[in-house]
């Protein structure tokens, strides 16, 4: 997937002038926020906040011991009968999958939704070698059918209305006319059945890997994740190296907080723990299971002050909470990760040069940190990225000159005093009604009257009075 994050201002403007997208965003961000409050605070605010701390500490302990936990997870997964592969970057991860597809002679691949596979551009690579790749999560299937990119890490088709999807199904799948989401869903169920049964290789992601038991854990709702991990002969899971956690107890906290923070569910409908291929005598399940541990920039981030971003469990709560995301939607961010987490993660993964506007796509209101189940300090990182941008020369000459002038003036008491007087005069000269294009602004707004005296003068008078009293 191409990174188009540098066009943020333009793409955001397009989103802002799309009334239907605005209506859709208003509904889904409101639902997301309300669901999250009901889920996380079901047993009171104190308990909910304690769980956020518990979840944050679980991820932080895991990150602190990341290299050791990865080795432990690898050993346990191998002992359970899974093959573990390590991919340094996107190209290597894609090549592993291509090799596995060829090695097993797979022609039909079904996929359960995975943001990581979007990040590494897996589908186009597989299609290029002539393999049919079918997304089976309803939202992911819809955007694949429409030839679009996902706009949300949890709900890929959140930007589309029910009518858009109905028209798409009628056009592309010859669906008999219906206006009901239930019937549209049933139609897709029947349509994808054959694909599930026919597939010879399944691809999934992973929400967590438990180091102590070598469990590959998936949180899903529709049942396609279970189909993909049960029916095909070969299962390939692609998991970011930051997904490993220490213990089953940590997994229990995190998987439930993931569901509660995303939609308010107490658990996702299907929480799966996979430990390997089907055992001797079992009726179903894959015959071979591969886990590809993908780095693709994560170990580089690990060594920086942004390591915290690797705690993210991809619940999407910060998207719903963000006033910028709620206005622009996901596509404006120009890559697979959007909202506050995208504004931080995208520049870190693809380079600041390729995503320079994103750290500014925030009002720094702090709501993203407040709703994060693992308490990631996104506002802090957004500010730090802005600083990095300036240090790398990403600031306009005029802006830099202005700031330098300001710094010079405010460091000198005399210059500052002159400037102050100049502004006070200037304010008297500005008429209450501005002419021309500025009229609209002053029609309902009045400038404050210039103050009679300055703060410095008041302070001096106050100090003098105090000395006089002594």
């Amino acid at each position: 997937m191409d990174v188009k994050a540098n066009h943020f201002i333009t793409t955001a403007q397009i989103a802002l002038s799309n009334p239907q997208l605005q209506a859709t965003l208003a509904v889904c961000t409101r639902n997301g926020l309300q669901g999250r409050i009901a889920g996380v605070f079901e047993f009171g605010r104190e308990h909910g906040e304690a769980l956020r701390r518990q979840a944050a500490e679980a991820k932080r302990r895991a990150l602190r011991n990341l290299p050791e936990l990865l080795e432990q997870a690898e050993a346990r997964m191998q002992a359970n009968g899974m093959r573990v592969l390590w991919a340094a970057d996107a190209a290597e991860a894609r090549q592993y999958v291509i090799d596995l597809v060829r090695q097993h002679g797979a022609r039909h691949v079904t996929k359960s939704k995975s943001t990581l596979t979007e990040e590494i551009g897996l589908n186009p690579a597989l299609e290029q070698i002539g393999v049919e790749v079918l997304e089976t999560d309803l939202g992911a299937y819809i955007v694949q059918l429409a030839g679009e990119a996902p706009s949300h890490i949890v709900g890929p088709a959140l930007h589309m209305s029910k009518d858009d999807i109905r028209d798409l199904f009628i056009r592309k799948l010859q669906m008999p006319f219906t206006d009901r989401a239930e019937e549209m869903t049933r139609f897709v169920r029947e349509h994808l059945r054959r694909a599930f049964l026919q597939a010879d290789l399944g691809i999934c992601g992973g929400n967590f890997i438990v180091a102590e038991t070598g469990s590959l854990c998936l949180s899903t709702n529709e049942g396609n994740g279970r189909m993909v991990t049960t029916l095909p002969r070969v299962l390939v899971a692609l998991v970011g190296i930051e997904k490993v956690v220490e213990t089953l107890a940590d997994f229990a906290t995190l998987s439930q907080m993931l569901a509660r923070s995303n939609s308010g569910q107490s658990m996702t409908v299907y929480t799966q723990m996979i430990h390997g291929a089907r055992g001797a005598g079992e009726d179903d399940g894959p015959e071979e299971v591969y886990v590809i541990l993908v780095d693709n920039g994560r170990s580089r981030i690990y060594a920086t002050d942004y390591a915290e971003v690797l705690s993210c469990i991809r619940c999407g709560a910060c998207l719903s909470a963000c006033p910028v995301y709620a206005s622009t939607g996901g596509h404006a961010y120009g890559w697979i990760y959007s909202g506050p987490i995208g504004a931080v993660l995208t520049p870190l993964l693809v380079g600041l040069d390729n995503a320079a506007p994103l750290p500014f796509a925030s009002s720094l209101c702090g709501r993203c940190k407040e709703v994060c189940p693992v308490d990631i300090d996104l506002p802090r990182m957004l500010l730090d990225l802005r600083r990095d941008l300036v240090q790398q020369g990403h600031s306009s000459a005029l802006w830099s000159l202005g700031l330098r002038l300001w710094a010079g003036v405010s460091r000198s008491q005399r210059l500052f005093g002159w400037g102050r007087r100049l502004v006070r005069w200037g304010m008297r000269l500005i008429p209450q009604r501005l002419p021309g294009p500025w009229r609209a602004w002053t029609r309902h707004r009045a400038l404050p009257p210039p103050p009679d005296t300055s703060f410095h003068a008041l302070w001096r008078a106050r100090e003098a009075a105090r000395r006089h009293e002594q």
């Binding site: 047993f43 602190r64 819809i142 599930f196 107490s266 723990m273 390997g276 179903d284």
Partner: protein
């Protein structure tokens, strides 16, 4: 150098983040249940499962539960099912044979799948199903209706309690089971216009037959 050692090398060379995080002092279960007497667990389990959208029937003994199940199976000629040894309904196998209902494998046309469970989670109304010989995963996945038979002594307060219990040992210890599915209600989606719809790829209906004894 292999990617494995390159990745691990980079991680090891970095200054470790979060040095200040303390070791675990106390851990709270996500769903706090104060009362965990068998009756309380049943009450919690039933209300949580109903809230998820399950249809729950409570029976005094297995004979009542079996009669209910057979009535449900009246129109069927085939079902997907676990081996009757893992479903706590003595006599199920004979009754199915008597009624001419075949137990088939992986047939996508079958309407009903019957399973036992390895545990029920009271706090969230979830069913825990471990894969194994005689416990096909597709029985709880392919048919539009999944019927799960649960006995009261299989209930745990929540995911934390069940994971702790199996970690202590026993045949279902993670790692010895190829796949564990924790099922919380009917399959669902909100992907079309943010409208919640039940029954996408998994069962749209989940019936829980809970036996008191």
């Amino acid at each position: 150098m292999s990617s494995r050692s390159a990745i691990l090398g980079r991680l090891r060379a970095a200054r470790r983040p979060f040095a200040e995080v303390p070791p675990v002092a106390e851990r709270r279960p996500v769903v706090p249940l104060d009362e965990t007497s068998p009756v309380e667990l049943m009450a919690h389990f039933v209300s949580a499962a109903v809230k998820l959208g399950c249809t729950v029937h409570v029976f005094d003994d297995d004979a009542d539960a079996l009669a209910h199940l057979l009535a449900l199976l009246e129109p069927e000629s085939a079902v997907l099912a676990w081996d009757p040894a893992y479903i706590p309904l003595p006599g199920l196998s004979d009754k199915l044979m008597e009624k001419g209902i075949r137990v088939v494998r992986g047939d996508p046309e079958v309407r009903i799948g019957i399973t036992g469970v390895d545990a029920g989670l009271a706090g969230t109304g979830s069913l825990v199903l471990c894969s194994g010989v005689g416990k096909p995963r597709l029985a709880s996945l392919l048919p539009p209706l999944h019927v799960a038979v649960v006995t009261a002594d299989q209930l745990y307060p929540g995911l934390e309690a069940w994971l702790a219990a199996i970690s202590a040992g026993g045949p279902d210890r993670p790692g010895t089971t190829s796949s564990i599915s924790v099922i919380s209600g009917p399959s669902r989606t909100g992907d079309i216009g943010n409208i919640s719809v039940r029954g996408v790829h998994g069962p749209g209906e989940v019936h829980v037959l809970l036996i008191r004894s």
